[in-house]
């Protein structure tokens, strides 16, 4: 997993709450067996009109947000299906960070596994970022994971909560399976208690 220390990039404001993973990556793209190549299908139905033409009103289709790598969205982002394809699609498209007032639990876990920094700010800060991103596009923001601070060059500055374990895993790009395998002895001991017959094998 790619480590994340600090990142400065253009913000795309997606001013909607309860953005579900069916919107982030619709079901027809879940039949693939690869981890990559989902970026083109990100927000597939929102990026197109019913006729299949690009919808110029949608934030990611606007030239001033074209290079966006930081998505700012409403509360409960990533609700619904557990599909990790949602995190893969956001990363593959080029997003490194999603900022929202809150996230759905499974999405948050999936983001962590893919070096996609999902961070929460207060409602008022998220609203302010959306305003700045709309009014001063292309609007650039810096996310510093080491200090847990989001800031811009025009005086915006807000700290965000993130527990040390999540932060360390993201900073160092740690392999979670490798971390768990440090506890192989504990796993073995647990299995020996539960299934004494397996202990000798």
């Amino acid at each position: 997993m790619e480590p994340f220390k600090t990142h400065t990039g253009v913000v795309a404001p997606l001013d909607r709450a309860d953005v579900d993973t069916d919107q982030i990556i619709p079901k027809q793209f879940l039949k693939r067996v690869e981890r990559t190549g989902y970026g083109a299908f990100l927000f597939y139905d929102w990026r197109r009109t019913p006729d299949g033409e690009p919808d110029e009103g949608f934030v990611l289709n606007r030239p001033e947000h074209a290079e966006a790598s930081i998505l700012v969205a409403g509360s409960n982002f990533g609700c619904g299906s557990s599909r990790e394809h949602a995190a893969w699609a956001l990363r593959d498209y080029g997003f490194r960070v999603v900022v929202a007032p809150s996230f759905a639990d499974i999405f948050l876990g999936n983001a962590d596994q893919n070096g996609l920094v999902a961070l929460t700010l207060q409602d008022a800060d998220v609203a302010e970022l959306m305003r700045r991103a709309r009014e001063h596009a292309p609007y650039r923001l810096t996310v510093d994971l080491e200090t847990r601070v989001v800031s811009d060059e025009h005086g915006f500055r807000a700290g965000f909560p993130m527990d040390d374990f999540r932060r360390t895993c993201l900073l160092e790009g740690l392999d979670r399976i490798g971390l768990t395998l440090r506890h192989e002895d504990s796993i073995r001991a647990y299995e020996a208690r539960r299934w004494p017959s397996l202990a000798g094998s």
Binding site: D22, V33, I187
Partner: protein, 469 residues
């Protein structure tokens, strides 16, 4: 000394492999369910670094999301879907995992076959790369959905690191009126607490109305815990649970059953247990429910009306309400009973068990599907289908004009050919009414099996009790 513990705390504590301050707890997984959509990249990850599956004996796979629900002897026409199913077959063979494949009578939706086969038991930790894994919590197990990287993690280690969620009690008092089903209870719960009302929490459903439910009813309720944002939903095991588990094909043997029941009895939350959050509903006040919008919290009683943006408490809710009305092509104030339908779908891991099909059939019996409505029933598993056929339910549906299909997820998410066309309006017993969920531009109303059945007959929403009288 520890104080009183909840069901959730007991199951969590019993599975602790490793715990240290500042890190997530490491939990042992008793049962890992796999399907074709969220597993291929996980197996690939294992192969890339030469890892094995630690406990293939605790894994079970099936194909459900992609499978066509038409004639099983025909080839799968969608080449990408076919390949995904073939990849699962190759993976389970390579790693020695049991599969219930499309030709096996026991194939079905993963959350239907787990309980049905006796794989799901009280007190377990169960995971699956699917958010509706919460279904299995009906047995007093802790069951939750995970992403594909975590699927790989569980395959490799049989454990999962998790931050301990907070706890929430949802108590349902009173008695459910006749004609009001468990689906109506969970839709009303989500309507009350909202689609993120339980985020970060494991829900325990308690109260007399829950106690009186069958296992299938409890599964319907736990299934949609995720639609309230819950990490999982649980019901304490009782005699109803034990009787359901007893004698299942892959369940505990008769010899070990009695001692297991003793253990399972002790799982119930201790008197004096506390929860981080609570909500209470009175079942006696409930009516059949119908969602009108684009998330499951946008729900009203069947006698109600589509709300107006002016009723929204704040600007953000007003915008999402307006957007939902536009997508659903509904005007504020429209009576739910005036909404007419093009399609009816009875199926999904929420409502495709035998009791659901009986409930729907009892409404359909003696009626015909309304002109212009296309209605289908997709049983949750091969065994549900067989049971329904032995009771003659298939004949009731077919004679009324329903299609009677093979088991799978089908039009709940429309990954297989069963989808809505743009603009079509559907009464669906599934769990998500998100934009495009059942097909791009499709409009989904979530309802119980009897409301769906009545909608098929009348071509619009009607209280199913009116048809039975």
């Amino acid at each position: 000394m520890t104080g009183p513990r909840t069901l959730f705390q007991k199951v969590w504590d019993a599975h602790l492999v490793h715990s240290e301050p500042g890190e997530p707890d490491l939990l042992y997984v008793d049962l890992h369910l796999l399907h074709e959509v969220t597993s291929p990249q996980a197996f690939d990850g294992l192969r890339m670094v030469g890892r094995r599956v630690r406990r293939p004996d605790l894994c079970v796979a099936t194909v459900d999301h992609n499978v066509p629900t038409t004639d099983r002897s025909l080839p799968v026409l969608d080449a990408v879907a076919r390949r995904q199913m073939e990849v699962l077959r190759r993976n389970v063979e390579e790693f020695g995992i049991r599969i219930f494949d499309v030709t096996d009578e026991r194939q079905g939706i993963v959350h239907v076959i787990g309980p049905e086969l006796g794989l799901t038991r009280p007190g377990m930790i169960i995971v699956c790369g699917d958010s509706h894994t919460s279904t299995h919590g009906a047995f007093g197990s802790l069951a939750f959905g995970i992403g594909t990287s975590q699927v790989e993690h569980v395959l490799a280690t049989q454990t999962i690191p998790q931050q301990r969620p907070r706890s929430m009690e949802i108590r349902v008092d009173g008695t459910l009126p006749d004609g009001v089903s468990p689906k109506d209870v969970i839709l009303a719960v989500i309507g009350q607490i909202g689609v993120s009302g339980a985020t970060g929490h494991v829900i325990e459903y308690t109260g007399p109305a829950i106690r009186r439910l069958s296992m299938e009813g409890r599964m319907t309720i736990c299934n949609m815990s995720i639609e309230a944002g819950g990490r999982a939903g649980m019901v304490a095991p009782d005699e109803t649970t034990f009787e359901y588990v007893r004698g299942r094909e892959l369940g505990p043997s008769d010899e070990e059953f009695d001692s297991l029941v003793e253990e399972w009895r002790s799982l119930a939350s201790d008197p004096g247990s506390t929860y981080d959050k609570r909500a209470v509903l009175n079942a006696a006040e409930l009516e059949p429910q119908v969602t009108w919008g684009t998330n499951p919290g946008m729900v009203v009683p069947i006698s109600g009306r589509v709300p107006s943006p002016e009723e929204a408490p704040d600007e953000a809710s007003r915008e999402s309400l307006e957007r939902a009305l536009e997508y659903m092509a509904l005007s504020p104030g429209t009576a739910i009973g005036d909404i007419s339908l093009d399609r009816v779908f009875i199926g999904s891991c929420t409502n495709a068990r035998i009791e659901d099909l009986r409930e729907a059939a009892s409404v359909v019996r003696g009626h015909r599907v309304h002109d212009g409505v296309h209605a289908m029933v997709v049983p949750g598993s091969g065994q549900v289908k067989k049971q329904a056929e032995s009771e003659g339910l298939d004949r009731i549906f077919r004679e009324a004009g329903f299609e009677w299909r093979e088991a799978g997820c089908s039009m709940c998410l429309g990954m297989n050919p069963d989808t809505l066309s743009p603009g079509q309006r559907c009464a669906s017993t599934s769990n998500r009414n998100f934009e495009g969920r059942q097909g791009r531009g499709g409009r989904t109303h979530l309802v119980s099996p009897s409301v769906a059945a009545a909608a098929a007959v009348e071509g619009r929403f009607v209280d199913p009790r009116a048809l039975r009288d």
